[in-house]
């Protein structure tokens, strides 16, 4: 378990400045944020599903937790903070992708990902496959992609995914099957067309 000592004093300071005199609320906020922070790995993985690489995923995860900290007062049902956090994560990633798409429109000649030619062959193959997977996941329709990422990267249960996306468990399963199918096809197509 990752230590929360770095965060705690700040939350206390923030609470004192913002909601002076409401000790119970600030204590609740602190406790709730601690609870939320316990899910940092899962959030990082979900972000990884949407991001291009781990660096970007970490940036996104930072953004997610910052948003969570800023909006934690709006959380009405603390027992469902996991679901709330993952929804924040999904929305943050989707927003970031929208922004990136817009940026790409203006930067048509952006440099491609550099490839380390000196890496061992096995690593090159893996990188290649991961790149294909990323492309295939990125090409999925939004709903399918979210379902796939929450399940495969976030390792969430069908029920949790259904709650986050506001759909039925059956729909989660069918979307997952569809997503896997599409990814397989896409990866095949991409590897043949290389």
């Amino acid at each position: 378990m990752i230590s929360l000592t770095a965060i705690q004093p700040i939350i206390r300071i923030g609470a004192r400045q913002e909601i002076e005199g409401i000790a119970v609320t600030s204590a609740d906020k602190k406790e709730l944020f601690e609870q939320v922070l316990e899910n940092r790995k899962t959030v990082f993985w979900i972000c990884l599903g949407y991001a291009r690489d781990s660096v970007e995923a970490e940036e996104l995860a930072q953004e997610v937790f910052f948003k969570a900290w800023s909006r934690i007062d709006s959380l009405r049902t603390p027992e469902r903070c996991r679901e709330w956090l993952f929804r924040v994560a999904r929305n943050t990633c989707l927003d970031s992708q929208k922004k990136k798409r817009l940026r790409r429109l203006f930067e048509a000649n952006s440099p491609r990902e550099a490839r380390d030619e000196k890496t061992p062959e096995a690593l090159i193959i893996l990188r290649d496959e991961l790149r294909l997977l990323k492309q295939a996941v990125r090409a999925l329709p939004n709903k399918m992609r979210s379902t796939f990422i929450l399940r495969e990267y976030g390792e969430l249960s069908y029920q949790e995914i259904a709650d986050i996306l506001g759909i039925k468990e059956g729909t989660v399963m069918s979307r997952l099957n569809g997503a896997r199918e599409k990814i397989r096809e896409r990866m095949k197509g991409l590897s043949h067309g290389k």
Partner: protein
């Protein structure tokens, strides 16, 4: 890393995802993550706390705010000191009528300035009465306007007369006058003018 799945292309997506996560996890340092997050939160908290003084330090918003406040104060002062046309009419007539007195006893409220106060409607009423007494004495008409006026003044009325004024009048043995609302008084005044024309 060595056991890279050759079957990834054909279908072992889950395994590929696992490998990706494994690799990403190596670069994910929890301590660094926490430190970055806490710095960011601290900065945001400080920024938020300092937001108001920063706003005040900028000249343009301060000037704009001052102008808005001045305009507001000016508007309130203007509203306080300027009366509606109807109130202005009442003040003028009250002052003129007060000068005339009721012709029966010495006018104690001859000072026109004294009449222009919160109790001006009542004063105006009393002044009107004085005019009607004068009219009656001169036999200008057969309508008993004084009686009808008295009736109206006594029956209706908001209690806007100052307590001090009321006490003075009661101690002077006067019948307690009653004040009318703006709208009632306006209507009444129109009727009065019509009747005066008839007379």
């Amino acid at each position: 890393m060595e056991n890279s799945p050759k079957s990834g292309r054909s279908g072992d997506i889950r395994e590929l995802v696992r490998l990706e996560k494994e690799e990403a996890e190596r670069s994910f340092e929890s301590h660094r993550f926490d430190a970055r997050l806490s710095t960011r939160i601290r900065e945001a908290t400080e920024e938020r706390a300092a937001a108001w003084p920063v706003f005040l330090r900028r000249p343009a918003p301060v000037v704009a705010l001052s102008l808005v406040l001045l305009a507001l104060a000016g508007f309130l002062l203007f509203r306080e000191h300027s009366a509606s046309p109807f109130q202005q009419t009442v003040r003028t007539i009250s002052a003129v009528l007060a000068e005339a007195g009721d012709g029966q006893k010495p006018n104690e409220r001859a000072d026109a300035n004294q009449l222009i106060r919160a109790a001006e409607y009542t004063d105006f009423g009393w002044a009107l009465k004085a005019v009607f007494y004068a009219c009656e004495r001169q036999a200008l008409g057969n309508i008993n306007l004084t009686d009808s006026l008295s009736l109206i003044f006594q029956k209706k009325a908001p209690q806007a007369l100052s307590i001090g004024d009321r006490k003075n009048r009661l101690s002077a043995g006067e019948e307690q006058p009653r004040l009318r609302t703006d709208e009632e008084f306006r209507m009444f005044f129109i009727v009065f003018l019509k009747k005066l024309e008839e007379v």
